[in-house]
Amino acid sequence: MTRWMLKGIFRDKTRFLFPFLVVSVGVALVITLMGFMEGVFMGMVDMTANLDTGHLRFVNKPFYEEEHLFPIDRALAGQQETRKWLVDNSHPQVVWTPRIRWGAMMDIPDENGETKTQTPVIGMAIDLFSPGSPEPDRLHLASSIIRGRAPAKAREMLVGYLLAETLKLKIGDTVTLIGQTFDGGLATGNFIAVGFIRFGVFSMDKKMAIIDLADAQNTFYMDDMVTDWLGFLPANIGYNEYESIRANIEKRLPELMRDPPQAWAKDDFPLILSILDQRNIGEITAKFEMVRGVIVGVFLFLMILVLWNAGLLNGIHRYGEMGLRLAMGETHLQLLFSLLQEALLIGIIGVVAGCLTGGAFTYFLQEIGINMGDAFAKSGLMMNDVVRARLSVAGFITGIIPGLTASVAGSLIAGLAIFKRSEANLFRELES
């Protein structure tokens, strides 16, 4: 029966072509649009996670509440013990990474060693030198350094390229950091600027410097201390799972507080946060999901409208055929069901074509991307200059469902007109 239906569909272009085009174009558009939105959104999430918040974050509450002031006196001590607890008590796929956020004055000397310029800077200390450390790759250091090289030994520093421009720094220049130690004393240290880095986020390019974690611990007298533990999850774990992973760790915190690491201060009180709890990412995610739902809904509605119209036209075109089939004894419901079957077959063919077209275009956008120039960098959002789509199973499902639904729904609504046909009038219609 299906084969017979398919023959009938392909032989009658008027029955097939228009609905097929509508479904395939609609599905392709939905897949591409979803892929692009997903790519831009997840690009923002990933960049924010890599540069700032991690997917999960374990931080001392007093530090978190004043983190804009970089209160390193509220860092968490007992680095090894804390790492062990985190590894033992969290999802097996979480990779925990220590970091130090710091703030200091950067002083640039002239040829006589006197101060030439000074500016406050914000800093990130990451594990650059441990063998197998994922941090350089995670921050895309190699591709982000626009001049010079990555630090290769202690007391070397990467500087945001706009900051370097402001300070008129050259590769190899010595800079002096002046800040506060963990216990409030004076912290000073000389570093060599070995590379200028483009983060792609204006505020970071303008103000940030990166040094090795051990250098920060030496300079700020933070032996065995870090300000943040960032947890990173693989791409196959979606952001809607982060909250449950976070909650599982939070459940075990009371146990930790009963017997905390010895080096912790009495008033240390760690928090476990997901990326959705920080930087308004949760609100942005909710809005993104709402917008995505609206777009899919609008597409679905429009496709149903168009296909309903196509179904009506089809009904007019096949008026005689319907009458004949009714006269031959087919019931209204059987007739409607066969129309729905046809619509489903057309829908499946259109969906397959739409998936191939939309998928190919999304893949192209994923690999090549669109270069937005400085637009996003200047906006302050943590988004890469090159926005890419993201091909995903969810994107295909989001396209397939309205493609099939619209095709069937449109034919269903149009096919209801069949019930208005009366068998008693059939032969009169035939005669006329």
Binding site: M105, Q118, D183, G184, L186, T188
Partner: protein, 257 residues
């Protein structure tokens, strides 16, 4: 009435009228006090053309207590040189302030670093004192106009509360309030305010002792009112007024010696 009776009557009449009058005067002691002269008298105790101080800063940031040991030489209002002797981490750090600029030298960097402008108002070494607080020796009578607000008790002492208004509108502390003892010409408590009226610092002057003909506190307890649970005690272990200070101490070359 005979003369004897007349004399006794006059005496009694005087007692009735003069004593209450005397009491009325005694009830308003501030009327007799010239606030500007009181501030000048306070300056004669506190201020000198030069000073040499050996002291300690005991810094309590609410979580731990650190003690810095240093020696300081001051000349006039805006020249000051400090050399930190302990603990080991801070040993060898030097600070030289001249006018509105301060240079800092640390052995770790082997460099002279300039700290100027608003940075001078930052906390010094994590203490409740700013660089400016530490290295400036303000002569109150020259920098401020004084008025009397009220008289009150401060512990067991009768004090007058003086309101000092800065003459220079660019001064960090536009207003100060001091609880001054008009008999001993000393200060027990001082509050320093920003231009907005916000209280920035509170200082207690404690354990006065006689040094030559001056009364000077053995310690001052500073509190940065913008922070919680912190205090810094400046212990004046040794202080010499009007000491000859060689010019080399106020030259940049001293920093790297």
């Amino acid at each position: 009435m005979n003369i004897k009776s007349l004399c006794l009557f006059s005496l009694a009449l005087s007692a009735v009228t003069v004593v209450p009058y005397a009491n009325i005067c005694a009830a308003n002691p501030v009327k007799d006090i010239n606030p500007q002269q009181l501030v000048e008298a306070i300056d004669r105790n506190f201020w000198s053309a030069t000073k040499y101080i050996e002291g300690r800063l005991i810094i309590d940031n609410g979580r731990r207590v650190r003690t810095l040991t240093m020696e300081t030489r001051m000349e006039g209002v805006v020249k000051s040189y400090s050399h930190y002797l302990a603990p080991a981490r801070e040993r060898g750090t030097k600070m030289l302030k001249m006018d509105q600029k301060m240079w800092m030298y640390t052995p770790q960097t082997d460099r002279k670093i300039l700290i100027a402008g608003h940075l001078l108002r930052q906390s010094m070494m994590g203490s409740d004192l700013s660089y400016e607080d530490m290295l400036e020796d303000v002569k109150l009578s020259e920098a401020y106009d004084a008025t009397i607000e009220k008289a009150e008790k401060f512990g067991d002492h009768d004090v007058v509360v003086l309101l000092l208004q800065a003459k220079d509108k660019t001064k960090t502390y536009q207003t100060r309030r001091i609880w001054a003892d008009p008999k001993r010409n000393i200060v027990y408590k001082e509050e320093r305010y920003a231009k907005s009226g916000k209280l920035l610092k509170r200082i207690l002057h404690l354990d006065y002792r006689l040094i030559g003909d001056r009364l000077f506190p053995k310690k001052m307890v500073f509190r940065d009112m913008l922070k919680e649970n912190t205090s810094t005690t400046y212990m004046f272990d040794k202080i010499i007024f009007d000491v000859a200070i060689p010019a080399k101490y106020f030259s940049l070359r001293i920093l790297k010696r």
